[in-house]
Assembly symmetry: C2
Homo-oligomer: 467 residues x 2
């Protein structure tokens, strides 16, 4: 019976008649985004004129200066930079790798150094290979089988999972921690199958970490394309004694200063209620970071521009934050949250777009049941735009540090099927982003920010920011 | 109150607990499609090895022979060809066009002859241009303004519509009937803005018709790329007396014989209840027809293969029909329905996939309210696969002739945002189709066919096929 009542309650909430003013306002955001949006032009500049934006690079600094100037031009109430110290890792010259099945019999394969990895010796590193499906298998094999070898982590992303992000989560430990773990058993290097559901020739980089491992124990780690991973695996079955050679010249420099870029419209009624919308300004150095996360950056800027363009004056303070260093350190997200805490700012809601510029399907929310019921009551407003996914779940890495027991965090959830075809690879480029899909995402985000601005939290609190 | 009751009824239907056997069966279809599907490999062959398949072409005949052979290999109960007479229109050598703003000052622009158009004189056709936003404006201008000119239909697809198919419907009359109408006012040729929401350099072909217009009155018609349409429009403002020259050598030949390709699994309990799943085998001659409708062809074949691969034995007869000549005549769809009528076959359900191989979002159904309620009761089964769109509406051009007052027709509804970037243009190619998206569509179709096989119509009828 309780179950039935729950269904009825839930269902009535789902089927509530939308407020016509809200319907009109959402239509205005979508129409303006699709007919006179600016997100796509911004993305064109950010990706094609500035390009990749790895923390500590000139590209990242140009992106800081340019996005600040663009926000300045919107007539916001305040635009400023927030200093953040970030890691500086540099890839160096292009990596090289080959499989040697017998002396003089070699196959070149595409690899890319993982972000944060040490270099190989300048002549390269050559060793026999042991293939494992993950860290557990590595541990089971133990030092005897691993000593002196290159460990090849080859667990593929699970193709039967509908959410490709879930498939990513199930594999990324071998990329992030594989080298640290393998070194403990005497491995000399690590090759990781690219986090890509597709079979192709592009290696995908991404963060790895040695944790607090002694510098002397750190071994080089690289990603190999999925096609080459399949080839290496099948050659290993034919010739278990084959050797792998790779060379990479990457290097970590001392931290440098960079910035989060922030712009805001001050709330007309509740200026101390802060609503954040953001993405991360940094990207990996392959491709031009169009989906990850150029899309989230320009969509977040577009939220404030759409408010201006449609004449909507928010009651609460709407702040766009372009976070620096999500990819290899999260320094921007952490610095922003720490400063907000110190300043006693009250963040009621934060939304991140960091899942690509594909057709938006909805949002996932980190919040209480009461807050989630409010969100569900808004769902019918989104139906004309085919936005249907409203689920509890994660938000985004940059806004996550803002979570407290009162506020709500959310992440935009675009269609995920193509995302890992491009993620952290040289084909994460402007031409892989569809203008309409990007614009629909921006309007979807603007609509949710508008609803939080208008209605506030379901369970309001006077508490300042506190965790 | 009635409204509230309706909502409650509707909501309870939506929130009904799915049958665990059905949940398991759907999961088996999705898992098999994503882990061991064959649709993508089939599409690779159909597009890259066979290529475009315009009715009456060698490509179309190769596609008939190859798909029949592939169906033969599946161990179905019956595979056969159904003869259909189809139009044969041939493009001839590549079209040529230029804008001449003054003698000797010219700009080349990309055009493509519309399917069914007559040729220009072999030296080309050169005339002043009058731009109109549609057929109504043409009529308002009248013979005085139109006589001796090339009519340039430049109404763009409406970008603020969320469904790009709706935007297409709002424009396609100028392509289909523009030449016939313009000729009545003395126009000598027609240029139509490509049906594309994106600004790019690719002209998009598609069907046009002269109806029963006298052969002597038929004027040539071509599509121009969206970028070139914008250029022509702005040059016309600067130089209204400019001339447009185009040359095309297309020709209509007498009808030829071709075939629908049909394969079926005979139902174990109700063999006379027929369920059809299909797409169209023909394509336009630009590109390789990967989305339109190679995707629908291989997905429809995959439905029967997935039944076999998962060991599901249907109670009703499941028939895949690969229709010939959807693009420029619909001869296959009409012939199939006429033969079914003559044979007194009872088609209870027919599903078409002809909206591209993109991420599936759901279906639209042509049916009564009672039948639609049954469909809605199945909706929760699809939630794990993010399939959410269940609406009344159209099905597909090929299955539409099967409609009677008892049966249900449906069309797969994939994400539509990118579809018209590729539709009828040379970039409708294999590499624009994502493997997972295609496979998700095949599993979604298989799931719905399974449910109709298991449960039959909500309002069963003993009537034979009758309209």
């Amino acid at each position: 019976m309780i179950r039935i009542l729950f269904f009825l309650f839930f269902s009535v909430a789902l089927c509530a008649q939308p407020n016509p003013d809200d319907e009109k306002q959402l239509k205005s955001f979508f129409d303006t985004s699709l007919l006179a949006g600016n997100a796509y032009q911004w993305l064109d500049y950010l990706t094609n004129r500035i390009g990749s934006r790895l923390s500590g690079s000139l590209g990242a600094e140009r992106a800081v200066a340019w996005t600040k100037a663009e926000l300045d031009s919107l007539g916001l109430d305040s635009v400023y930079l927030q200093a953040v110290k970030v890691p500086k890792w540099v890839r160096g010259s292009k990596e090289f790798a080959l499989i040697e099945t017998a002396p003089g019999i070699t196959f070149n394969v595409p690899i890319t150094a993982l972000g944060g990895s040490v270099a190989t010796p300048s002549v390269g590193l050559k060793a026999p290979v042991v293939e494992v499906q993950g860290i557990e298998e590595l541990k089971a094999l133990g030092s005897e089988q691993i000593e002196g070898k290159i460990v090849f982590f080859n667990r593929p992303m699970q193709a039967d999972l509908i959410s490709t992000f879930q498939a990513y989560s199930g594999c990324v430990d071998q990329r992030y921690s594989g080298a640290k773990e393998a070194s403990e058993y005497g491995a000399v290097g690590v090759i990781v199958r690219s986090m890509n559901l597709r079979l192709d020739d592009l290696p995908h980089t991404g963060a790895m970490s040695y944790g607090d491992q002694a510098v002397s124990k750190r071994i080089p780690a690289a990603a190999i394309s999925t096609n080459a991973a399949e080839k290496l695996s099948s050659l290993l079955k034919l010739e278990p004694a084959l050797k792998f050679l790779f060379r990479q010249q990457c290097k970590t420099y001392p931290d440098v200063w960079s910035h989060n870029v922030i712009g805001e419209i001050t709330g007309s009624e509740f200026p101390n209620d802060i609503i954040v919308v953001g993405g991360h300004l940094d990207s990996w150095d392959l491709g031009d970071g169009a989906h990850d996360d150029g899309a989230g950056v320009v969509q977040s800027m577009e939220v404030l521009r759409l408010f201006k363009a449609t004449g909507y004056k928010p009651k609460r303070t709407i702040r766009v934050v372009l976070f620096m260093n999500e990819e290899n350190g999260l320094r921007g997200g952490n610095a922003y949250a720490n400063k907000a805490l110190l300043a006693g700012e009250r963040h009621i809601f934060a939304l991140e777009s960091d899942a690509g510029g594909f057709t938006p399907r909805g949002f996932s929310f980190t919040c209480s049941n009461e807050e989630f019921n409010q969100v569900l009551s808004w769902k019918p407003l989104f139906k004309p735009y085919l936005i249907h996914y409203f689920e509890k779940g994660g938000s985004g890495a940059d806004v996550r540090p803002l979570k407290n027991k009162y506020n709500v965090l959310a992440g935009l959830r675009p269609d995920s099927q193509r995302y890992f075809d491009h993620h952290h690879a040289e084909n994460d480029t402007f031409n892989a982003v569809n203008k309409r899909e990007l614009e629909l995402g921006a309007a979807t985000m603007t609509s949710l920010i508008y609803l939080y601005d208008k209605y506030g939290l379901a369970v309001p609190s006077d508490n300042s920011f506190a965790r």
